[in-house]
């Protein structure tokens, strides 16, 4: 019988966990321990998630009636810009890779740490500096360009564009450093016996993400540098007033920002692969297909950016080419979704909170993926572009995909990270509220968008009012669900039961050490002999289906 790894919990906690191995504030501020950095990232991204979430609720409240209510046009524009910019650059992009990825990657690989621990610490501080820049921008004259900083609006508006873009520029370097670190870690730090076919799928997803981070983010950096220079010196690359081409900015910007969409969603895919297998006690269906489709998505993501420019005055030929390539991304994505569903076949599914989130993800992400099809179909996109349909689509992918997966992953690995169990009943209520609230909020917006409701309007035609009100009420339910989740998770830190080392009976390496792990992760370097999804419940005798 081939067992994957030594899955018993051989050592009682003889060593203190990473949380208490060193004490004092300084031990946290200068730590190079990937687990502590993961927690620090987690706290930071959750803080910004909260801020940007509050902004979202403010926006939805303003949209409850067609007229201007309690915000001026300028305030509304600043609020939606900050909602977008904070969510994208300070929350979603670092959420799974930097928070969960940092914590889990070395553990899953059986390594003591990432390849460059000090770089990891630097990356966290670079991120913090970026956050400070964005906060300064908010506190000075705000930012009203939309998170996409399109020229020539961004070169002519009176708000703090330079400060904010400098912040995003810096955040980009944090992302690059994290990505670089992870690529090297995956290549060089795997434990003995862990070849590419034995890596957990979360690692594959993080690896693909890291490759995108390394290849795409530098272009964002140079784009923003050019924008800053355009704004301060007027060199005339992007600003038509000085002889430039504003559509060129969109090319530069989306060369990064489209792959960035996959920086956001690929790690979510990885989490779902882990959750579904572990909680259904089944080997993942189509390991190679899922692993390689992550890489395929990462590569194809670089040649589809032009679908953001279908109506921007890009040439028709380029539009056709980009439309075709965009459909190509759909194939590996479909393969993944089908494989997850097939994994459930013949399983023994345990419905705890993480599993609920996994199941919710399959619903929301499928909607998000399918509604991408009309947007990549040239003719229909002409109608739907920059309407609420797009808003609903990317929220289904970013929130329904990434955030649901992120919260699911947080529940899945919460016992490992904190050493505490949360209340399962509370968790399921939270999941239900999030799922219902989310669908009510954004499903409505598909209809709004198809009816022609444009994005970024603080006041709208009265015909749209009913649907806007439904959406606003949905957003309150969603907010309630998220708040509830925050409350019981924090509560578990003080009152939760002590977590066993492997509460879900998983086979991957992070569960083979104590909860929470010791400072150097493992008492002894683990050796891997098999698949990360080889559960003891699998009926080896029923080998007929096994090819």
């Amino acid at each position: 019988m081939s067992t994957a790894v030594q899955s018993q919990d051989p050592h009682p906690a003889v060593e203190p966990s990473y949380l208490v191995s060193k004490r004092g504030l300084m031990s946290w501020l200068v730590t190079v321990d990937h687990k502590r950095l993961g927690l620090m990232y987690l706290a930071s991204v959750m803080f910004f998630f909260l801020i940007a979430g509050i902004l979202a609720i403010v926006l939805r409240t303003e949209l409850f009636t067609p007229d201007q209510d309690f915000m001026s046009a300028q305030t509304y524009n600043q609020v939606f810009t900050l909602h977008g910019a904070i969510m994208v650059f300070l929350f979603i992009i670092p959420s799974v890779p930097a928070a969960l990825g940092n914590f889990l990657l070395p553990l899953m690989l059986g390594a003591k740490d990432v390849a460059f621990p000090r770089l990891n610490l630097l990356s966290f501080y670079v991120y913090s500096v970026a956050a400070v820049f964005l906060i300064v921008a908010i506190l000075t004259s705000g930012l009203d360009t939309g998170w996409t900083f399109y020229t020539p609006y961004s070169t002519s508006t009176g708000t703090a564009v330079i400060t904010a873009t400098a912040g995003v520029f810096i955040a980009g370097f944090s992302s690059i450093l994290t990505g670089l670190n992870f690529v090297v870690t995956v290549h060089k730090m795997r434990a003995p016996g862990m070849n590419w076919n034995r890596m957990p799928l979360f690692v594959w997803a993080i690896y693909s993400t890291a490759v995108i981070q390394v290849l795409a983010t530098p272009v964002l950096a140079i784009t923003l540098l050019l924008l800053i220079v355009e704004r301060s010196l007027g060199i005339g690359i992007f600003d038509p007033a000085m002889g430039g081409d504003p559509v060129l900015f969109q090319h530069f910007f989306w060369f990064y920002s489209h792959p960035a969409v996959y920086i956001m969603i690929l790690p979510g895919f990885g989490i779902i692969s882990e959750i579904i297998t572990v909680h259904s006690r089944k080997h993942i269906f189509g390991y190679k297909a899922i692993a390689l489709s992550s890489v395929a998505i990462a590569v194809i993501s670089f040649v589809v950016w032009g679908h953001h420019l279908f109506v921007s005055g890009q040439s028709e030929l380029a539009g056709v080419l980009f439309s075709f390539l965009t459909f190509a991304v759909g194939v590996p994505t479909a393969i993944k979704v089908f494989s997850w569903v097939a994994t459930l076949y013949g399983g023994s599914i345990q419905y705890n909170t993480a599993c609920w989130y996994g199941m919710a993800f399959l619903w929301t992400f499928t909607v998000g993926g399918l509604t991408g099809l009309p947007l990549s179909t040239l003719a229909i996109d002409v109608h739907l572009h920059d309407t609420y349909f797009v808003v609903a689509h990317f929220h289904y992918v970013m929130v329904g995909g990434t955030v649901v997966a992120f919260i699911g992953g947080l529940h899945h690995w919460w016992p490992k990270m904190t050493g505490r169990m949360f209340n399962e009943t509370a968790g399921k209520w939270g999941c239900l509220l999030v799922f219902v609230g989310f669908n009510v909020t954004f499903m409505t917006q598909f209809f709004l968008g198809h009816q022609g409701m444009p994005r970024r309007y603080y006041a709208y035609l009265p015909e749209y009012q009913v649907m806007h009100q439904v959406s606003t009420i949905g957003s309150y339910i969603l907010a309630l669900g998220l708040l509830w989740t925050l409350i019981y998770l924090l509560h578990s830190l003080w009152k939760g039961d002590k977590a066993p080392s492997n509460p879900w009976g998983a086979v991957t390496l992070e569960w083979q050490t104590q909860s929470p792990p010791i400072e150097h992760n493992f008492h002894e370097t683990p050796h891997i002999h098999g698949s990360p999804y080889d559960f003891p419940e699998i009926d080896k005798s029923a080998g007929a289906l096994h090819h």
């Binding site: 539009g319 399918l370 990549s376 179909t377």
Partner: protein, 342 residues
């Protein structure tokens, strides 16, 4: 709100031709689809419905299978069931990669064919020139000399129209939901949009590229009128002369509508991008350089023709010049109108 213009208030009524069928811009029911008022819209709706059926089947099928598995393979109350050793199945994986691919190719080709129709104007199309600015659309008809309308596009039924569009400040996007069409309006370049309206009526026209404070107010109307009435309707709409029985103040109100002034200047005292007209005349304002100026006829005239020459402190230089668009009589009427806003 500017949107009230769309529901035709008094000021807008004047610009509306009497022959206009006066249908509301959209159906009252929030759940009904938009009217399909062009050949393109009808073709696209077919494609759109095909997409919905396709995605609906895919979604229901996938979620159905998921739900069945979730119910069938629930963990027993005690312990775990033995689970299937299935790890992959090449044939199945090939099939579920191939089927979406086929549908993607169909969608792509269909979409591409329709798109090519959307972007290729027929040679007999009638020309209209559109200029986007913060935050209004200027629409000019080459065949009517000196006709420049704000936020009102007049279109005959069954006549292909070609809009050649540009912007004078930032990127806007010209969106006609009832025709399922949109195209960005880019400063420093020309973009082209064409359509053929099939149903008479009044339809909205919106900006869908974020362009600043009053982006939401950059809303206009498309008047689709029967071909035989078109010339008369357009001539009437283009006319901007003081009527015999019309006071200068009333005429000024029409000039304000035509100029799209309301997107930045209110008459109720609220300060938007520009100062409110209410109580503006005779006020003493402080300029950015600290000097003061009294708002009199000369200053208003200068501000219309050369808006950025003297900016009152607290405002930014955003206003486009109206030199060449308004003649002296119209400016005089405008001043009379502003004087009347006490």
């Amino acid at each position: 709100m500017l949107f009230s213009l769309l529901i035709a208030p008094a000021a807008a009524e004047a610009a509306l031709p009497p022959s206009n069928p006066g249908t509301p811009p959209m159906s009252d029911s929030p759940w009904s689809l938009l009217p399909a008022a062009s050949a393109n819209a009808e073709a696209l709706d077919t494609l759109y419905i095909f997409f919905w059926i396709l995605c609906g089947v895919a979604f229901v099928g996938m979620i159905g299978v998921q739900a069945y598995f979730m119910w069938k393979y629930k963990k027993p109350a005690h312990g775990h069931a033995k689970t299937s050793p299935l790890t992959h199945n090449g044939k199945l994986e090939f099939i579920w990669s191939a089927i979406p691919t086929v549908f993607f190719v169909i969608l792509f080709i269909w979409g591409e064919v329709e798109y090519m129709k959307q972007v290729t104007p027929p040679p007999d199309a009638m020309d209209v020139r559109v200029t986007g600015q913060k935050w209004s659309w200027t629409i000019e008809y080459p065949e009517v000399k000196g006709c420049s309308l704000t936020n009102d596009l007049y279109v005959p039924v069954g006549q292909p129209m070609r809009l050649t569009m540009t912007s004078v400040d930032v990127i806007h996007s010209f969106y006609l939901p009832a025709f399922r069409l949109k195209k960005d309006v880019v400063p420093g370049r020309y973009t082209v949009l064409w359509f053929e309206a099939t149903k008479a009526g009044l339809y909205p026209l919106m900006c869908t590229e974020y362009c600043g404070d009053e982006h939401s107010s950059m809303v206009g109307r498309v008047h689709v009128v029967p071909q035989e009435e078109y010339q008369a309707v357009l001539a009437k709409a283009c006319e901007l002369k003081q009527g015999d029985a019309e006071t200068a103040e009333d005429f000024g109100a029409r000039v304000v509508t035509r100029g799209g002034c309301a997107s930045c200047h209110t008459t109720d005292g609220t300060v938007k991008t520009g100062p409110s007209f209410k109580g503006l005349f005779g006020k003493t304002e402080t300029l950015a350089d600290g000097s003061t100026i009294t708002v009199d006829e000369n200053y208003i005239r200068e501000s219309i023709l050369e808006p950025n020459a003297k900016i009152v402190s607290g405002f930014s230089p955003q206003m486009p010049s109206f030199a060449g668009r308004f003649d002296d009589k119209q400016i005089a009427a405008l001043i009379a109108y502003i004087k009347a806003q006490k």
